[in-house]
């Protein structure tokens, strides 16, 4: 089966003054559709750097990264945002919502970037908020939402335009354990029920049981990998009725 993201021999070196610091030292890994993958490891192990490279935000120093079958290493600075826009949704540790926009407007911004505007954008944004169970809070500003609700809005925004890949950086770090778990359960649903490839950077071992696979990083390399359950591509697949038609991915797993 083709990976949504394929990483081969990726290195990343940063310059720190005259010294060069290796953040990643030759990483190989894949992210498949229908799975929830955890990237775990201690601070400074290269988790976020790897996620940034997988998300076409950061360029690798060497190696190959394929997103949706397309090699991104040679793409220009103009082309990279298009790859992000077309294939990837992001969830950030600090939510990164626009504080001056309401929940629904936050989602609309992402939809607008993907060419959906006006009444259709409003309708789809509300559908996405309903999908993360925030249908009654669509007009609230981020300041009026709890941490868990903010992360759900961020998740709805990440789902705008129906990307096949979701990348999340420490999405539970700013949440209490219960809320964090519920957000992760939601992400697992998105992976399993909507056949998305979901990668989550976390150091929160309390939620590790929710993942399908865990890749452990240490000193910029993959130290171990453990499969917690069978990949969703291998189990019967069905769309839940609560998900709007426009958000359904027509590409079903083979």
């Amino acid at each position: 089966m083709e990976a949504a993201i394929r990483v081969r021999g990726v290195t990343k070196t940063y310059a720190e003054g005259s010294a060069r610091v290796a953040a990643l030292g030759g990483v190989d890994m894949d992210l498949y559709r229908g799975e929830l993958l955890f990237l775990m490891g201690p601070s400074g192990s290269g988790k976020t750097t790897l996620l940034s490279i997988m998300g076409c935000i950061l360029r690798s120093t060497s190696g190959s990264v394929q997103v949706a079958g397309k090699e991104i290493a040679g793409l220009s600075e103009r082309e990279l945002p298009r790859v992000r826009l077309g294939h990837i949704g992001f969830v950030f540790q600090a939510f990164n919502l626009f504080p001056t926009l309401t929940a629904v407007e936050n989602v609309e911004v992402a939809l607008e970037l993907k060419g959906v505007r006006g009444a259709r954008a409003r309708s789809e944004a509300r559908d996405l908020l309903a999908q993360v169970r925030l249908e009654d809070r669509w007009s609230a500003f981020p300041a009026d939402l709890s941490g868990g609700q903010k992360q759900r809005v961020a998740l709805a925004r990440a789902l705008a335009g129906n990307p096949e890949i979701l990348l999340a950086d420490e999405p539970t770090a700013a949440l209490d354990s219960h809320t964090g778990r519920s957000v992760l359960e939601l992400m697992r649903r998105l992976a399993h029920e909507q056949n998305r490839a979901v990668a989550v950077v976390t150091h929160d071992s309390r939620i590790a049981d929710l993942g399908d696979r865990v890749v452990h990083l240490e000193d910029g390399t993959v130290s171990s990998e453990e499969r917690l359950r069978q990949r969703q591509s291998d189990i019967p697949f069905s769309y839940p009725s609560s998900i709007p038609e426009s958000q359904l991915n027509p590409a079903r797993p083979s």
Partner: protein, 374 residues
């Protein structure tokens, strides 16, 4: 499009107030300084511009109207005898001493013209008339200067260079660029007030027949007359304006102040719009991270700058109108035309665009990976 620019701008009321204060300050400063420059410039040549003459005959090489040197009035007949001349009249604009009734003295500029003709006379006459100046000793003084000259009412009598002068009317808004107010009177009276010889004049105002080439008439008159310059009204007006505004340095000072206002405005607005951008840097980073092209982020920043420009301009131009109105009442000459208002609006937009470009430059180099840093 979600109203990100507008919301960002209005979200922080204090920041918005600072931004608008900066723009308003710049607008008022530029309008007032440019208005002063325009007002001064217009005032220096007011007598010439309102003379209704086509050509001026003046003594040689005088740089501006106040420097006129008397010459023989025989030249008047030579001018009148020149083909293409419709009419020609004598004209005086000379300084004299005004004695107030309380014993104080002021300098005035006596303007003498032929009261049977329109050329060289006052405009904006609000009480009395030009015809009233036909009576001996009668004068018209602008109401702006009544207090300065100690005038209490029409009919009051004063002394100009020891000659009796009676106020028979007023004008409104005829300012003098110098500290000496204009006193309009008949040419005959002016000769007395300025102790000029009876057979002399300071200028000759010429009106050409319809259809006559001014250039040609100017050349013909110049060839026919000796020891004088024949100037078109536009030329003489330009010379006078140039002298007062640039040779004396007065205009340069005002222009520099206007320029300074613009620079200060740009700095203040750039700083505040830049600070606003910095406040929202994480949001712009998020936009870039989720795939927004730079052009989208630029649009947001430019929209913010544009909204700030329009709001700041509206407040600034409204305040400027009050300043202009107040200055008129206070005796200063600030000219605000709709063309100038439009130009300042363009300048305000430009100023905010420059400010936005500085911010855009920062956002262009923004690393979207910043969103992953805590």
């Amino acid at each position: 499009m979600p109203p990100l620019a507008r919301r960002n701008l209005f979200h922080d009321k204090i920041r918005l107030a600072v931004t608008l204060t900066g723009i308003t300050f710049a607008v008022v400063l530029v309008v007032v300084e440019l208005g002063l420059f325009m007002g001064f410039t217009t005032t220096t040549s007011g007598l010439i511009d309102h003379s209704q003459a086509d050509l001026w005959v003046a003594s040689r090489h005088i740089p501006y109207i106040e420097q006129g040197v008397p010459y023989s009035e025989r030249k008047l007949y030579q001018v009148r005898a020149t083909p293409g001349v419709a009419s020609a009249e004598k004209f005086i604009a000379r300084f004299a001493n005004w004695k107030r009734n309380d014993g104080g003295h002021e300098s005035v500029q006596v303007v003498g013209f032929n009261t049977d003709q329109a050329m060289g006379g006052p405009w904006n006459v609000t009480s009395g008339s030009v015809a009233d100046l036909k009576t001996p000793d009668s004068i018209l003084v602008d109401d702006l200067y009544w207090k300065k000259l100690g005038i209490g009412h029409l009919g009051e009598v004063f002394e100009i260079n020891g000659y009796r002068a009676r106020v028979v009317g007023t004008t409104h808004g005829i300012r003098s660029f110098t500290t000496s107010p204009y006193v309009f009177t008949s040419f005959k009276n002016a000769q007395s007030f300025t102790t000029m010889q009876e057979d002399q004049t300071e200028f000759i105002l010429v009106r050409a027949l319809p259809g006559v080439s001014l250039e040609r008439l100017q050349r013909d008159l110049q060839n026919r007359l000796h020891d004088v310059d024949v100037l078109t009204t536009a030329q003489f007006s330009g010379m006078t304006r140039f002298y007062w505004m640039f040779t004396t340095g007065a205009g340069v000072a005002v222009l520099l102040a206007a320029l300074l206002g613009l620079v200060v405005g740009i700095v203040v607005v750039t700083q505040t719009i830049y600070a606003t951008t910095m406040d929202h840097l994480r949001e712009y980073g998020t936009l870039k991270a989720i795939g927004a092209p730079n052009s989208y982020v630029y649009r947001v920043i430019l929209q913010q700058a544009g909204i700030s420009a329009v709001l700041g301009y509206v407040i600034g131009i409204t305040l400027s109108l009050f300043v202009v109105h107040g200055a008129r009442e206070g005796g200063a000459s600030i000219l605000l035309t709709w063309q100038m208002a439009l130009a300042v609006f363009g300048l305000t937009l430009l100023m905010c665009a420059i400010a936005a470009v500085v911010s855009i430059n920062k956002v262009t180099h923004l690393d979207p990976a910043m969103v992953f840093r805590g």
